[in-house]
């Protein structure tokens, strides 16, 4: 039985390879559709990684209540001592964030000012790719630049660059398992406080590491309760929830691309169905001859179904791989309200896209297969 199915597959393959132009046009169209689909899936997946909570999450973000843009969230730096004393808190890092624009865009520049001694302790997984911590510590205007940020701007240790009214010297390039870190430039806190005019003693937020992930909510409540009646009350949330609630414009944009993905799916369906219908209509006589020889109607239909699957496979492979490579080479980063989202390709997305393409090819082939197989032999033979 399996060999018979392979035989039909072989006949389908010959149909595709020997009708080169039709097949190439269809595959090209399918690959474009699947490129779009895979791109959308990449964006969706990148977003879900940073917004969907997992049981291992243990970072809270303390922000000024009712504020969204880093420019408007101002908290006294002294809060950090009170936060460190709270039960369940392992470590708190004051962070000043300066960003060129709060709106959602692909061209966001973000500086993060942190206390010099704290960075390495807080982010032990931070790896220096080039340059050194020493160099960073030695200059007040030094910056440790995330890998993707450096790639985008063509920065290397020793370079100087200016943005957002801040002029820095690149002390090193860093790589971190945290996607956010790879898209920002870490500078010294006092330096950024002065350069960005917020003044010493003021920060945008506190990043708090909690002892146990199960205690996140409790610790957040304790922090907010502590400062509730202060001049600058806080709003403390898990890092992922903070992202989801703050970068709303970016999330809306990425959410909108869902429609694009759906459109791409329909486009692929339409293209394959169109190509196969054309084939079915031009092969009325051929289908009748197959049946005359002794191929069943099911077999004749199966040849068409295999053609659909093969077209989906070829177009899907081309499109999804291209999308993966596109995102791999270009390192796109979406920014919004001081938060960055790295659009990272992944193997599961490519494989998933491929499976979707094959499935679409199969579904698209059903009607053409029926058209090819259903017409009675005698009527088909009379057609000329």
């Amino acid at each position: 039985m399996i060999s018979y199915v392979w035989i039909l597959c072989g006949l389908a393959f010959k149909q595709l390879t020997r009708h080169r132009i039709r097949s190439l046009l269809t595959i090209a169209g399918v690959s474009i559709g699947m490129f779009l689909y895979a791109s959308v899936e990449t964006m969706q997946r990148s977003l879900s990684v940073v917004t969907e909570a997992t049981s291992e999450d243990n970072t809270l973000v303390v922000y000024r209540e009712n504020r969204f843009c880093p420019a408007t969230s101002r908290l006294p730096e002294r809060y950090v001592d009170d936060i460190q004393r709270i039960d369940g808190v392992v470590e708190a890092l004051p962070v000043q964030i300066t960003v060129n624009n709060c709106g959602a865009s692909l061209d966001v520049i973000t500086f993060r000012g942190v206390p010099t001694e704290s960075l390495q302790n807080y982010n032990p997984d931070l790896e220096i790719v080039s340059g050194s911590y020493q160099a960073w510590r030695s200059r007040s205007d030094a910056a440790l630049v995330g890998r993707h940020f450096a790639q985008r701007r063509g920065l290397e240790p020793g370079d100087q660059f200016e943005a957002v009214g801040v002029r820095v010297w690149v002390a090193g390039v860093i790589d971190s398992p945290e996607a956010q870190d790879n898209n920002v430039a870490y500078v010294h806190l006092p330096f950024l406080q002065q350069a960005s005019n917020v003044g010493l003693g003021v920060v945008t937020q506190f990043n708090v590491r909690v002892q146990s992930p199960s205690e996140m909510e409790l610790v957040a409540e304790r922090i907010d309760a502590l400062f509730a009646s202060d001049e600058n009350p806080t709003d403390t949330r898990p890092e992922k929830a903070f992202f989801a609630q703050t970068a709303s414009e970016m999330i809306e944009l990425v959410g909108f691309t869902r429609w694009l993905g759906l459109g791409a799916v329909f486009a692929v369906l339409g293209l394959v169905a169109n190509a196969l219908l054309l084939a079915a209509r031009s092969r009325v006589m051929e289908s009748a001859v197959y049946q005359t020889i002794g191929f069943s109607r099911l077999a004749v239909g199966m040849i068409m179904v295999w053609e659909g699957a093969l077209l989906g496979l070829a177009g899907g492979l081309l499109g999804c791989l291209s999308a993966g490579l596109f995102f791999y080479w270009n390192r796109f980063t979406l920014g919004n309200e001081g938060l960055t989202l790295a659009l990272t390709p992944s193997v599961p997305v490519v494989i998933y896209g491929l499976l979707v393409a094959i499935l679409l090819g199969l579904v698209a082939s059903i009607w053409p297969a029926l058209v090819a197989a259903r017409k009675p032999i005698v009527a088909s033979l009379r057609t000329s």
Binding site: I32, L36, G103, V164, A264, L278
Partner: protein, 383 residues
């Protein structure tokens, strides 16, 4: 030459295939219209918002975002005194110190959308001459005025922002004292507060920017000189049109993505269309050979095939144009800069037409050439 009716009758031979061709072309051209209208709308609202005759003074380093900018309140009086060539009316100089802020407001329908808030003084109408209050008056303490299209940005019904309604900001209630319009600008999406109210509630001591209307375009140089000389104030002077131009640049990648997507889908659909044309023309090889045998030249047959294809795609273009006017024109789109409407301007329409023409002509050339390529004896025997 073959009569035009040959082309039209061939088209009508297979109604379902004709429908497919028209539908496919309509979809491609509609996409071009949509992408063009989106880009145009965004660009136009940014262009219209910034006047070249206005100067915007921002905090140094904040040229890309007025929300981040901070300048001291004293700058307002200093600028009014120190810059020559400022426009004015009846003794009032067109110098508007403003606070720009993005925050959540609580509406009467219970929703808490993020809104663009601007703290202003009465001078704002001198600096921004396109703004008019169309209902009510300038907001006093505890009051706001609302842009005509703000309800779209806030995704609520216009009744909840009508005159007399209330909104809540930072726990305080504000009454809507008036509605203003500023056609084609982002200001129409904003809520304007009395400046001191907004500064108090956001705990700000500083302004975001100062907008100054100059008497002439050349007078900008005076404002620029002021900013450069007064290093202590840490100011930067820009033409308002340049500021919004830069903002437009900031969104260029997003706009680029929109175009890229539209073009990709159009190309994909074009491939499908070409497939159909290949099949359609291939089935007529014998017919085309017969015409040649009768005495028609290849050129005349080629022209006829092209006519067929163009007719179908132009019908599709027409359909797309109707759909675009019905579904796209005037539709409001929300973005961080504010709300803008999709605009089917003459150049967008021209773009769609060109796309339709290109689809009909370029898409038909390879299949038509293939159809005419075969030698007569072979073609006459084909089935």
């Amino acid at each position: 030459m073959l009569p035009f009716s040959y082309a039209t009758r061939n088209l009508l031979r297979d109604p379902s295939r004709l429908a497919q061709k028209i539908g496919g072309a309509a979809m491609v051209v509609f996409l071009i219209f949509a992408a063009g209208a989106f880009n145009n709308g965004m660009e136009r609202v940014l262009k219209a918002t910034g006047s070249p005759q206005n100067v915007i003074l921002l905090g140094a380093g904040s040229e890309e975002s007025v929300e981040r900018s901070e300048i001291s309140v004293q700058c307002e009086t200093l600028a009014a005194a120190g810059i020559r060539g400022i426009a004015g009316r009846a003794g009032t100089l067109a110098v508007s110190g403003e606070v720009h802020y993005m925050g959540e407001v609580l509406l009467a329908d219970g929703s808490e959308p993020q809104a663009l808030l601007r703290g202003v003084t009465p001078e704002v109408f001198e600096a921004h001459q396109e703004v008019r209050i169309i209902d009510g008056g300038f907001p006093g303490t505890g009051e706001v005025i609302v842009g005509r299209l703000a309800y779209l940005t806030l995704d609520t019904a216009s009744e909840y922002l009508a005159r007399g309604e209330s909104i809540t900001f930072e726990g305080q209630s504000f009454k809507v004292a008036g509605i203003f319009d500023a056609p084609g600008t982002v200001m129409e999406s904003e809520i304007w507060f009395n400046r001191s109210d907004l500064m108090t509630l956001t705990q700000r001591e500083n302004l975001s920017c100062i907008v100054i209307r100059m008497e002439t375009l050349d007078a900008f140089a005076n404002a620029d000189l002021f900013a450069r000389q007064r290093l202590d104030l840490e100011l930067v002077a820009m033409r308002e049109s340049d500021y919004y131009g830069k903002l437009a640049q900031f969104y260029a990648p997003i706009r680029g993505m929109t175009w890229l997507t539209a073009i990709l889908i159009a190309v994909g659909a074009a491939f499908g269309g070409m497939n159909m044309l290949y099949a359609a023309f291939a089935s007529r090889i014998r017919e085309v050979a017969t015409l040649q045998a009768v005495g028609y030249s290849r050129v005349s047959i080629f022209v006829s095939l092209l006519q067929e294809s163009l007719l179908a795609t132009l019908l599709g273009t027409l359909l797309a144009a109707f759909l675009a006017v019905g579904l796209l024109e005037g539709v409001a789109v929300n973005f961080s800069i504010g709300t803008f409407t999709l605009a089917l301007t003459p150049d967008v329409i021209a773009m769609g037409l060109v796309a339709g023409l290109a689809l009909g002509s370029l898409g038909a050339i390879p299949p038509a050439l293939r159809c005419l390529k075969a030698s007569l004896p072979v073609a006459l025997r084909s089935n």
